[in-house]
């Protein structure tokens, strides 16, 4: 397959490109979905194709074909150059690429139990069983799903890269919904999106879906009778690690994408409140806040050996001691900003142009614990498991909702609360963080559905997170 990618690159160069790269990709995906004790979908997809990127002047041209023949590869390369050339009708400043050493390498993600070797019947029985259990314990609607992806990609660039990667990912999710007179309540395990990683089926086994099915069904039912989260202008807020993963993803991860900061996504995904001139001096949060983007974390969903521009995976400091110090970048955006490539450019398939995506953007752990936070809180609210998320196009003003909350009074966890929500302005919110969970609570949450780009791309991102406490937060916004 790398010969096909090479042929595509050569054709793009012959078409006038001053730089070109190509990814030949063979991938397969499996989705199994069960609902109320019935397996409703067993769906498998095989994909094969080549995507070629050609750089002429100020624009990328990209062409993809669902074909792996030499003729199709050459045609795709020539077409990519032609598309790039057409962009000269509306030119800008020529794009430069931050230097990256050409690499000839192979890389595979770790995998103990190949998801494709686990019998389909076993997977289906697992999901069928947990949805039946949830129904028996109070769920009106019980859902469960598993996903597995396997990607083999061959990357070739006109600078001499030849990289082969084999990445296996999988995960699972389940949720119980209880219907009340006027509203619905839901509980999920282990999180709203489940849990995913660049690991084998051992990840799914570790989630213990059967052991948690009855619990979340009972919690969903109990939430219907729980008091509503009070509306308070300011209170102490403790967030569990799953909700922290969402908080990091939305209010830090997207905000530090360099393409957004440079305005490349202005019309669709939006921009960022961050100004490059302030990188290195702007206070993003409290001194407890240490954020890295690290694609080398073993088993996390945003891990790989090389990004889709051939840049080796490496950790990048994003926020250090509360000061904004880094961004997520690729070779073109990094060159504009005058920095090294962050190795954060990926595409969601052969047919999409690589773009800046989160790797594993997360918090480094602190020294406290969830129990210590509760014990240290006189009057506050604990929330966990994301339910809704909304943030403005500059990634500044957010309102997030969780599935479940609890009163915290005099250092103890009290009554369960339904419909907990909180809202804030990003730097003010992060600036109020005064307690952070420890390494034992550090979880590499995986988000398999991060949407960005046109045509839309669905990215797989990782978010190491721990519980944290924030002071003076507005909660309980009502409709």
């Amino acid at each position: 397959m790398d010969d096909l990618a090479t042929a595509a690159v050569e054709a793009a160069l012959a078409g006038g490109a001053r730089y070109a790269d190509a990814r030949a990709i063979e991938s397969r995906a499996e989705v199994i979905e069960a609902r109320n004790g019935i397996v409703e979908a067993v769906d498998r997809t095989d994909r094969i194709g080549i995507g070629v990127r050609a750089l002429i002047g100020s624009s990328w041209g990209f062409h993809a074909v669902p074909d792996a023949s030499p003729a199709a590869a050459r045609a795709a390369g020539a077409a990519a150059a032609a598309v790039a050339r057409a962009s000269a009708v509306v030119p800008g400043r020529p794009i430069e690429l931050a230097p990256v050493e050409p690499v000839v390498a192979t890389w595979s993600s770790p995998c103990q139990e190949d998801p494709w070797s686990v019998p389909l019947g076993e997977k289906a029985a697992l999901l069928e069983g947990v949805t039946a259990t949830m129904q028996q314990h109070g769920a009106d609607v019980a859902n469960a799903s598993s996903h597995a992806w396997e990607t083999r990609k061959w990357y070739v660039s006109s600078e001499g890269h030849r990289i082969e990667q084999h990445i296996r990912e999988c995960g699972a999710a389940m949720s119980a919904t209880a219907l009340g007179e006027g509203e619905t309540q839901r509980r999920s395990h282990p999180g709203i999106r489940g849990q995913y990683g660049t690991r084998g089926w051992e990840l799914v086994r570790s989630l213990d879906l059967p052991g948690n099915a009855a619990r979340i069904a009972a919690e969903a039912r109990a939430l219907l009778a729980a008091p509503a989260c009070p509306s308070l202008e300011a209170t102490d807020l403790i967030l569990g690690s799953e909700q922290m993963a969402l908080q990091i993803h939305e209010s830090v991860g997207h905000a530090v994408e360099l393409d957004r900061i440079l305005g490349w996504e202005a019309a669709f995904a939006g921009t960022s409140w961050l100004d490059l001139a302030q990188m290195g001096s702007l206070r993003f949060g409290s001194e407890l806040m240490q954020i890295t983007a690290d694609a080398t974390l073993e088993g996390a969903l945003g891990s790989f050996g090389f990004d889709d521009e051939g840049t080796p995976a490496h950790p990048v400091d994003i926020v250090r001691d509360g000061i904004w110090v880094g961004v997520l970048s690729g070779r073109d955006s990094a060159a504009l900003a005058g920095i090294q490539s962050g190795g954060a450019v990926r595409a969601d398939g052969y047919n999409r142009i690589p773009m800046v995506r989160m790797t594993n953007v997360g918090l480094l752990p602190g020294s406290d614990s969830l129990e210590a936070m509760i014990a240290a809180t006189d009057d506050g609210i604990l929330m966990d498991t994301n339910r809704s998320w909304s943030i403005d196009d500059r990634r500044l003003n957010f309102q997030f909702g969780c599935e479940i909350g609890w009163e915290v009074k005099a250092g103890k966890r009290g009554r369960m609360l339904r419909n907990p929500t909180y809202t804030g302005i990003s730097p003010r919110f992060w600036g109020s963080m005064d307690m952070l969970g420890n390494r034992d609570e550090w979880t590499f949450w995986g988000t398999p559905n991060c949407g960005k780009g046109q045509p839309l791309q669905v990215g797989h991102t990782g978010h190491p997170a721990v519980p944290a406490r924030f002071r003076g937060i507005r909660v309980g916004v009502r409709g």
């Binding site: 100020s58 074909v65 800008g92």
Partner: protein, 451 residues
């Protein structure tokens, strides 16, 4: 429609069904074969920075063996050995799948509506064709920075089942979505049509620039409940939530919907119609199960009159599918398609002139449902929001957050005016909306830029 692409796709679908029958005479199968092209030219900072094109080609097979169901799909060449592998995978998966007691079976022969939302020039549009219209937009933006995208797409689909259904359909879609930017504001313009020739880059660029200038130097307004005029983009968002959470067969059957058929739950000025045949519509005349898209009123004069079904939810409800199945696993179990919110008699400018004191909104952004039953949604405004007093726009506002029940926003008496305009919002090949502007009595803004 017997275009070469459709004939080719039909042949592949026939080949797959033949492979299925060779393995089992009793197997039920449905095959979906797609081909087409997508071209998308993105611009930012007033120049084209990404320009992409993609040849599309896929074959999907859903197979049932005595109620054991599995799907397999391939992207890529439809060579005989790959089709053989596709069929083999589906059989292998179906044999070990549990019996699905709710499997509704595959659809039989039923003609699709005689619509052909197709424009040959759009199907063959080049990167240069797109770039020229982008240049018009950027030039019309004048000294303002511009950003956005212009897309052209074409898709041809052949669908066939072992029960005798065999239909083909095709559609083209062209759309531009761009903003012009001042240092303190963005203004937006959108156009969509079956034909690229209908896309006027200059007009769109001028509108975006005018709106950006009118939105410049925004100021705060106290959050609270305000009457609003919602431009069509907001209305499309409102309609999406209303239909997804309210009108699907599955959510109604599971009592997760606010909808009660036959009761006047919405304002009498609201009629929502599924109509693939509308002259401004785009899309395919059948759904992912090959069921023809039914023309029907989902809401008539404020009264919910129908729910939207795929074959599964229709079977459970004891009715026929309305042609709203979606490809692949989908949590809603259906897709609202070809939706028209019937326009009223007020010019959009009149809706503003009739507002004593309220807020005019261009776009909603990042809307998420807090409770699907009450349809309480939170989100923000984007790309221009203005205070209106005594029928005149008096000043631009900073973006606002809202937390609002969409069902209540359209409740009886809550809709003060329906615009005579109609804007098209395509969502892929399977869904599109035609919607007017609306004037609503109350919208709950729960926060400003300060949080």
């Amino acid at each position: 429609m017997t275009a070469p692409a459709a004939q080719l796709a039909s042949d592949v679908a026939g080949d797959v069904l033949a492979l299925v029958r060779r393995r089992s005479a009793d197997a039920e199968a449905e095959v979906d074969v797609r081909s087409g092209r997508l071209g998308l030219t993105r611009f930012a900072n007033s120049f084209i920075h990404q320009n992409v094109a993609e040849d599309l080609g896929s074959v999907s097979l859903r197979l049932a063996l005595d109620g054991r169901v599995a799907s397999a799909r391939l992207d890529g060449p439809s060579e005989p050995d790959r089709l053989e592998r596709l069929v083999g995978q589906a059989f292998e998966a179906a044999r070990v799948s549990p019996v699905d007691p709710e499997w509704p079976g595959v659809g039989g022969a039923a003609p699709a509506p005689n619509v052909d939302h197709w424009d040959e020039a759009t199907a063959s549009a080049s990167a240069e064709d797109r770039a020229r219209r982008v240049a018009e937009f950027v030039t019309a933006g004048g000294d303002l920075e511009t950003a956005g995208a212009l897309a052209t797409q074409s898709i041809t689909v052949a669908f066939a089942t072992t029960a005798g259904q065999a239909v083909t359909g095709r559609t083209t879609i062209a759309e531009i979505d761009g903003i012009a930017r001042t240092p303190t504001s963005d203004g937006v313009a959108r156009q969509a049509s079956v034909a690229l020739a209908d896309i006027d880059g200059q007009e769109a660029g001028e509108r975006a620039a005018r709106k950006a200038r009118e939105a410049a130097n925004p100021t705060e307004v106290e959050p609270g409940r305000y009457p609003v005029v919602l431009e069509p983009s907001c209305v499309a968002n409102l309609l999406t939530f209303l239909q997804n959470h309210g009108f699907g067969g599955r959510v109604v059957e599971e009592r997760r919907s606010f909808v009660r058929i036959g009761e006047p739950q919405l304002d009498a000025s609201i009629t929502i119609r599924q109509n693939i045949g509308h002259r401004l519509m785009v899309g395919l005349p059948f759904d992912a199960e090959g069921t023809p898209r039914q023309t029907l009123d989902v809401v008539r004069d404020g009264v919910p009159t129908a729910v939207l079904h795929d074959r599964r939810s229709a079977s459970k409800a004891g009715v026929a599918s309305t042609g709203n199945a979606v490809e692949g696993p989908n949590s809603f179990g259906f897709v609202a398609a070809s939706t028209v919110l019937l326009p009223g008699d007020r010019a959009p400018s009149t809706l503003i002139e009739e507002l004593e004191r309220g807020i005019l909104v261009s776009d909603f952004w990042y809307t998420r449902v807090l409770d699907p039953r009450t349809l309480v949604v939170t989100g923000l405004t984007r790309n221009g929001v203005w205070l209106v007093e005594d029928g005149r726009v008096v000043r631009p506002l900073r973006n606002l957050r809202f937390t609002q029940s969409y069902a209540e926003a359209l409740a009886p008496g809550a809709v003060l005016g329906v615009g005579s305009d109609l804007a098209l919002f395509p969502e892929g090949h399977d869904s599109a909306q035609l919607v007017p502007s609306l004037q609503l009595a109350s919208w709950n803004f729960t926060g400003g830029a300060k949080g």
